[in-house]
């Protein structure tokens, strides 16, 4: 007696394959759902979110920079700040510059009066309130340094988005 096992085997395997495909799809959907929830929760939860640290060299000095966003500052008023530091220690008066900027929903909200270091110092910062109502803010400022013949200005990196403001 000869048994043609081919079609029987395929018939058994096909539902298994379908279940496997369905399971894989469900897992992917679940990971995406979890990721979305995680991103949302992170943005809603964060109160102090710094940007990536930036770096540039000018006139024999190397500077590091950063934008920070603190949505819980001053009882929830919130503040967006920009920073610049000289890696090699103090630099002469007027060599470093920082101007904090706040953005809401990708739109410019506010910026501070830019500040230069008015004494021999190794860092300077400038911040503004989150004054455009409650929303999704980002901190993204302008920093600069003396190049020996004038000033070069750069952006900080963007801070992550965080919800806050008044």
């Amino acid at each position: 007696m000869t048994i043609d096992s081919g079609p029987i085997t395929n018939a058994v395997r096909e539902p298994k394959r379908r279940r496997l495909r369905a399971s894989t799809r469900n897992i992917l959907i679940a990971v995406l759902l979890g990721g979305t929830l995680g991103f949302g929760a992170g943005a809603a939860h964060a109160t102090y979110v710094p940007s990536q640290i930036g770096q540039f060299s000018l006139y024999g000095r190397t500077y590091t920079t950063q934008a920070t966003l603190d949505t819980s500052y001053n009882g929830g008023d919130g503040r967006a700040s920009s920073w610049i530091w000289s890696q090699g220690g103090s630099v002469p008066t007027g060599w470093m510059y920082a101007r904090g900027r706040a953005f809401i929903g990708g739109n410019f909200c506010d910026e501070g009066w830019g500040v230069y270091n008015d004494t021999l110092s190794s860092g300077v910062d400038n911040g503004v309130w989150l004054s455009c109502g409650y929303g999704a803010y980002q901190s993204y400022g302008v920093v600069g340094a003396w190049n020996g013949n004038g000033y070069n200005y750069y952006y900080t990196f963007w801070s992550p988005v965080a919800y806050g403001g008044n």
Binding site: S23, N26, A30, V31, L32, L33, G34, G35, T36, L37, G38, G40, A41, G42, A43, H45, A46, V49, Q52, I53, G54, Q55, F56, T65, N74, D77, R79, P92, T93, G94, W95, F103, N107, F108, C109, D110, E111, G112, W113, G114, V115, Y116, D118, G123, N126, G127, V128, S131, C132, G133, Q138, V142, G150, Y151, Y153, Y154, Y155, T156, F157, P160
Partner: protein
């Protein structure tokens, strides 16, 4: 058979829950993480070609500019009343000193008060509101 089906369902729920948890943890960590090594600030992508209005002025979000010098002529902003419009880059300009001494003098000459700037429509001429900028927050002492 019933036991097998029940087992598969329980297993499926467990796998799905684990997958959501992993995705959630990764998503949360990415959102709140502080990036590590310093990056050179010049390397921030290609220059953006902002659209132009009828007067040839570029307009858009300053978030998309690669450097401060690349910002559009009209910067998309939120007015004091929440209306979306544009601030002129020239109005936001705070001057560029020629020396460190001049920089400090320029800084000392400011009274620290906010500035009220006109908020324009995309055409760069129609005034639709105003935006108050420059109300400085106090220094951060956390660093």
């Amino acid at each position: 058979m019933k036991s097998s089906t029940k087992y598969r369902k329980v297993f499926g729920v467990a796998v799905t829950t684990t997958a959501i948890a992993i995705g959630g943890v990764v998503g949360f960590a990415v959102t709140t993480a502080n990036a590590g090594a310093p990056a050179v600030q010049m390397e921030k992508g290609d220059k953006v070609d902002f659209p132009k209005n009828g007067r040839g002025e570029t307009y858009g979000s300053a978030l998309e500019a690669r450097t401060p010098a690349d910002e559009p002529d009209l910067i998309r902003s939120v007015g004091d009343d929440g209306k979306i419009g544009y601030l002129k880059k020239a109005d936001l300009d705070q001057g560029t000193p020629k020396s460190p001494e001049e920089a400090v003098n320029l800084q000392n000459s400011r009274n620290g008060a906010g500035r009220v700037l006109k908020l324009y429509a995309e055409d760069g001429t129609t005034v639709i509101g105003q935006r108050t900028v420059g109300k400085a927050a106090p220094h951060d002492t956390s660093k």
